[in-house]
Point group: C2
Chain length 616, copies 2
Amino acid sequence: MWYAVVNFSTFKRVVIGRPMRSRELNEKHNKLFWMIALPILSADLYSSVAYGPEAGLTELAHLGRSALWIVLPITGASVILLFILILSYIMGIIAYPSGGGAYSIAKDNFKKPWASLVASSSLLVDYVLTVAVSVSAGIQAVASAYPVIKPYSSSLAICCVLLLVIVNLRGVAESATIFAWPTFVFMACMILIICTGFIDELSHGFVQPSTPTFGEIPGGITILLILKAFSSACSALTGIETISNAVPVFREPRQRSAIKTYIALGSVTAVTLIGYAYHLYVRGVEVREDKTMLSQLAEQYFGHGIVYQIIIWSTFIVLILAANSTFTGFSQLSAIVASDSFLPRAFTNRGDRLGYSNGIMFLAGAAALLIALFQAQTNSLIPLYAIGVFLSFTIAQVGLCKRWLKVKGRMWKLKLAINLFGFIVTAVVTVVVAFTKFLEGAWIVLVILPIMISFSVMVKRHYDIIAEELRIDPKETRPHPHELVTLVLVSGVHRAVLQTVSFAQSLDSRAVAIYVGFDDESVDKMKLKWEEWGEPCKLVTLRGEFRSILAPLSRYIDRLEITECEQSNIHIIMPQFVTKKWWHNLLHNQSALLIRAWFLRNKDVVITTVPYHLQK
Amino acid sequence: MWYAVVNFSTFKRVVIGRPMRSRELNEKHNKLFWMIALPILSADLYSSVAYGPEAGLTELAHLGRSALWIVLPITGASVILLFILILSYIMGIIAYPSGGGAYSIAKDNFKKPWASLVASSSLLVDYVLTVAVSVSAGIQAVASAYPVIKPYSSSLAICCVLLLVIVNLRGVAESATIFAWPTFVFMACMILIICTGFIDELSHGFVQPSTPTFGEIPGGITILLILKAFSSACSALTGIETISNAVPVFREPRQRSAIKTYIALGSVTAVTLIGYAYHLYVRGVEVREDKTMLSQLAEQYFGHGIVYQIIIWSTFIVLILAANSTFTGFSQLSAIVASDSFLPRAFTNRGDRLGYSNGIMFLAGAAALLIALFQAQTNSLIPLYAIGVFLSFTIAQVGLCKRWLKVKGRMWKLKLAINLFGFIVTAVVTVVVAFTKFLEGAWIVLVILPIMISFSVMVKRHYDIIAEELRIDPKETRPHPHELVTLVLVSGVHRAVLQTVSFAQSLDSRAVAIYVGFDDESVDKMKLKWEEWGEPCKLVTLRGEFRSILAPLSRYIDRLEITECEQSNIHIIMPQFVTKKWWHNLLHNQSALLIRAWFLRNKDVVITTVPYHLQK
């Protein structure tokens, strides 16, 4: 298996680029100017305007046109929530100038690890959902304009995820310079739609024939429905934490850059959300299966011309960028958690291009699975969404409150008040989201979180136990050479065996060759050949009655252990063919690999592989 | 990966049973009495009556009721074809008393391997299709009675394939005794339906109100359509070769037993086909999407009572048995072809229970893929079917003709005439099937066959080249011990390193320890620790600038090669953690495995793994 992977190194070079040195990580070109960081880190939050209000209205769609005006109070509420969250997160950056999201804040302020694990697990789950939702919404945007691709949504979405993996394995800085502009274009498009709307309304009136009556209570409305709609609309607020997690990515002065970015982003998002929702209301745009609301509104203003195309495609691209920024977030968070031993250490390994390759690939795999399971339907994924984010928001707020109480400092009471208020709001939203969306999918997240947290705890415990087990006193315990019994597995008399026996004799002149035959005929033939070869060393022949090499070899080693030596002093040497072409591996080595794996696992023997490089 | 597999050995014991010794293969209880062999080996052919006539009529369904009578001539033609084929195959058994189907006959009678490869490849493809078609048809039969399962057809069919894998990994003889009786029950059911039909017709007349007019030419009929219907009906004839492939499975006298089985099977199949088709005609049963014709006929005679249930379930079971007999056929044929070096040798490995495990699992995987791709729809799979079988029939006939011409012997002219006639008929049918079904799916088979044949040729060529490359003159070339440079990879000072260094020093007192650090700090720390440990051997520290252990190590080895020794004389020793639980592997060894795989592939160095068995 590994062979195939390793063998593609040239392919990898072409797709992913030349390897980078560690110190390049700290070089200036990998650090982002805040105006460039804005589109990259904000794509996640800002792009949500493309589906947030629509997700909210979808909950009310069955009530008909009279419920359309509710988009205004709901969007208003989410904008207020947005400002509260941004303010809270700015407090976070003030408290931790070197950055760090909910996980670091919780780790620093809670003695027990559970709070930080809840934060990290819920964020990691939400990152996966962000990728799945954003990519699905992007494909849905394009499918609004080109219905022909609708049946292939899932496959296309998975292709996009694959593309993102490649881009992210290439590294952060490069994606930055490539990807900064499309987000600006999307922002410009949204502003253009909003301005066009107002100009239109200036000439045609702010209440148009299509405008539903404001404030009319639609039949069948309940508090629960409004809360549900609000919960769905809150999906527009995921992605706020990206900037606070990514402070180290900014150019100096980092703290100020990050705060500047937060304020700029908050303002532009608020304006966009309110303006967009307002025009949706004025034009009385309804939820449709085949066409996103953004696509409907753009169509009404610009027809199907070039402007419409730019809007659709920039929506698509910015949603893909949202998924892209999530890759950075996920892989960095998983690396931090892994370096605290709460996730497998493999997540801390940086790849050739200095990205955390394992995190990137894990995220992509999980997101692709979700896309496949939910058929790339944004509306089926939304109920799973947002709980994670609000859960981690809540924990971060509590952590910050604890910190202000402990550290105090300048204006600590104001800061405490802000985070306390933030805590109350986010806690309420978390409960509302979990409660209203429970049956529609939120339960999945509420089942997965405890599993992830227990996994983290188990991983940590395992690493701790192993560290203890491996610890030695360097003054007392020193290496001690010992006697070895050397066995060479031979399958006949040929060049690979020649090489292996030569190697074994270089190590130990008393090496013994072992041959396992499945019938008397082959055993006799081998004895004869060995004689003919001048008996380079002693040959032991074994009969494999189960047609397995493992069983007789295992019995032989058990006997050796009793009569001659400890198991750990038995050294088995065997050849392995190294093929020129990857598919030739199918034709060789099946038993060699099995024997090696079985013996390493079940016996305490040392196994040496002598590669024989096939020429053809 | 292998660990997980090997680790499940207890699970495997429970599911598959205790391992069997080689000689058990030849013991009597694995040999079949012909009356028992009949249901097992005939399930494939006999069960096809459940879908063959229906597949033929499906082609004519759009012509309406007036085309229903065509089932009679078409079935008549297939029964004639059946007798010709059985006669030809009996000639095959006479020529090769120890058995052997189209592949062995072709191998023995054609100088070039292409004919035998065409035969083997087309048979292997058809075995895969038999499993897919039979299992799908079985599920369809049950779905006729219980429409509620229809949406889950694919998943259920794949579950059946999985079940067959388990049964087949348990071995042939046991499946025999378990599975002999259901086929008899199915035969009894078919005979019961036919007798009930005749009794019914005795009292209600052989022409009933529902009987379509015989001989009326339906509007829109063409020769092509009739040929198409005939081609589809020929799918009822697949599976004839099973018996001739399986002669070694019979109890002595094998040849006579096999011929007896053939004659018994041919008679009962012919009676069933004709009787069944006749009643379908009399009752005017039409092709329906939701209900098989067999189910409709049974319903008309027996209502929905117990008899109907027995018929449905025995149809299901016999179709599953058809798939089951194919597992034996596929794995035996692939083992024979592999032992001729035309397929990877892994196919010749017998598993613990003496079945060819790799063949069994490959067949199951391919069939499951087909079922998933074609949504378990028998009618979509039928067009791919039968070409392979008739192609291999044709080749076998030519082979036998060549043999009679060469060997002559008693009554050789009669035998030659039979096979020559058989050749003409099967060749014509092959062309008809390929031509009429080309666009509906036969092209897939006609594309896959050349690919499989080229693969076989490539495999054979590879094995030949390797054998040549490995050949040595045992008198001239003898093993020669040489100087080695021993390197030990260390990651710190702990118990696993202690064990590895001890082992290395047991082999070579001049072993050198290598440490790769990613920054100056860790390198300095390691040097200090090593000193504190009393420098058990020389320590070389390397700086890994790419955060990769591979790059600096590789450069170091290149330097060693220039200054000190050949690459093949470098011996790298490294520890590997063996975990107690399989999932702990996710937490360890990622770099160790990567290093080992990379060095084996890219360098000519010998690699030794010293296992450290974690206690927890």
